[in-house]
């Protein structure tokens, strides 16, 4: 049985309030059976410095990416991972993490590829929980093993590949990278490693809405009205659009995918995880430069 939806008034205004929980709701439900909290961070050691009591760790590099092929883990590996973390198919999973839930949203999106039914984000992530002085622990989480079924990934609804993007040219696309990456001035975000793209710029026709604009200063999501103004008023999208979002490797854009899909209720949003590291290296694909 899924846990009840957080009745918080701010969340209730979003298209799918059941995809988000507040820190207060999480604190109240922390020991409910049927709930597993997953921490997913950029830094692989941050969880070890202290985590929400009872939370398990899922790392985007070492747990979710296939170690050889540039792809996500397969159904067997995913089932083994979730079983080990004590997550069953009917478990309510609440994700939280560092940097405005950037990697938490990425993990949530990967769980969605496998069709995990009840996935939610903690509004504000790790920073909000810490700022409110809520409990953290370094105690090792021990959860009873679960028996997660082997469910094949269903990529098509929420994931776009390069050929899908080529076929999508001319339709709405959001590039969520920094303005200088979008214009082609730089190949990677400021202060981050260069991950090897030989050309700079963006996919023709894409609109630039840096991903972090969806978050307020305290890391929580902006209100539904602010988000509408950002993506519809300023970027010109509308709810029935078929949208592709991308960034550099698909992580920042999973955050935007979450916003468009679950907070604004768009039904056809796909994340192109090949993103700029694939497009900017592909031979003869069209590229646009400049703001």
């Amino acid at each position: 049985m899924p846990l009840p939806t957080d009745p918080d008034a701010k969340l209730a205004a979003y298209a799918h309030p059941e995809r988000l929980v507040t820190t207060a709701w999480l604190a109240e439900h922390l020991s409910d059976p049927g709930l597993v909290v997953v921490e997913s961070d950029e830094d692989v050691l941050l969880y070890e410095t202290g985590h929400v009591p009872g939370a398990v760790k899922v790392d985007w590099h070492t747990d979710l990416n296939d170690p050889v092929t540039r792809d996500y883990v397969d159904a067997e590996r995913f089932a083994a991972l979730l079983s080990e973390k004590g997550i069953g198919r009917d478990t309510t999973v609440v994700f939280y993490g560092d940097r405005n839930n950037w990697w938490a949203a990425y993990a949530l999106w990967v769980f969605t590829l496998f069709g995990h039914p009840d996935v939610r984000l903690l509004d504000g992530g790790r920073a909000a929980w810490l700022a409110e002085g809520r409990p953290m622990t370094t105690e090792q989480t021990v959860r009873t093993r679960a028996d997660y079924p082997v469910v094949e990934r269903s990529d098509a609804p929420v994931r776009a590949f390069r050929d899908d993007v080529l076929a999508h040219l001319g339709r709405p696309m959001v590039d969520v990278r920094s303005p200088s990456e979008f214009s082609g001035e730089t190949l990677h975000m400021p202060d981050y490693p260069q991950e090897g793209a030989v050309r700079g710029g963006h996919i023709p026709g894409a609109t630039n809405v840096p991903w972090a604009k969806a978050a307020a200063e305290d890391g929580t999501f902006r209100t539904v009205d602010e988000l509408r103004d950002l993506y519809e008023g300023q970027a010109g999208l509308s709810a029935d659009d078929d949208v592709v979002v991308y960034c550099r490797i698909g992580e920042r854009s999973s955050h935007t995918w979450f916003v468009l899909t679950h907070l604004l209720g768009y039904e056809k949003v796909r994340n192109y995880d090949g993103s700029w590291t694939e497009w900017g290296n592909s031979v003869r694909v069209p590229i646009e430069q400049g703001a």
Partner: protein, 150 residues
Amino acid sequence: MAALPPALAEVVDDFAAVAPRDRLQLLLEMGQELPPLPERFTASHEAMEQVHECQSPLFLAVETEPGAVHLFFDAPREAPTTRGFAGILHAGLEGSTPDEVLDVPDDFYVRLGLAELVSPLRLRGMAAMLARIKGQVRAARDGRATGASE
């Protein structure tokens, strides 16, 4: 292959001696042992070099005297992995001679057995730190040599 400086060899042995799952804990501890930055660096990062290849902002400074290299790192607490890498290099290389530092194999970090736990992409940050330390040691040495010949 050149031998590692004794302190760095000891760190590598420590990592090799523990079970893979305990290596992350060890990495965390290495970061916690990183000494605080001396006052002359805390005011501004201008005298330090930023290692852009790290996932989180990391600044380092190298001071050399004829027989010894001194290393200073500034890594945020919210970036324990980057701090851990800095901690390994500090514990292993602080006080080594310039030649010892320059002789450290660029890929020494593969011996730490962290690739599977941390991912090779993240380990690049440590390679980049070592490369920049060597760059500064080389610059100091060459600068001194030039100065002497004048």
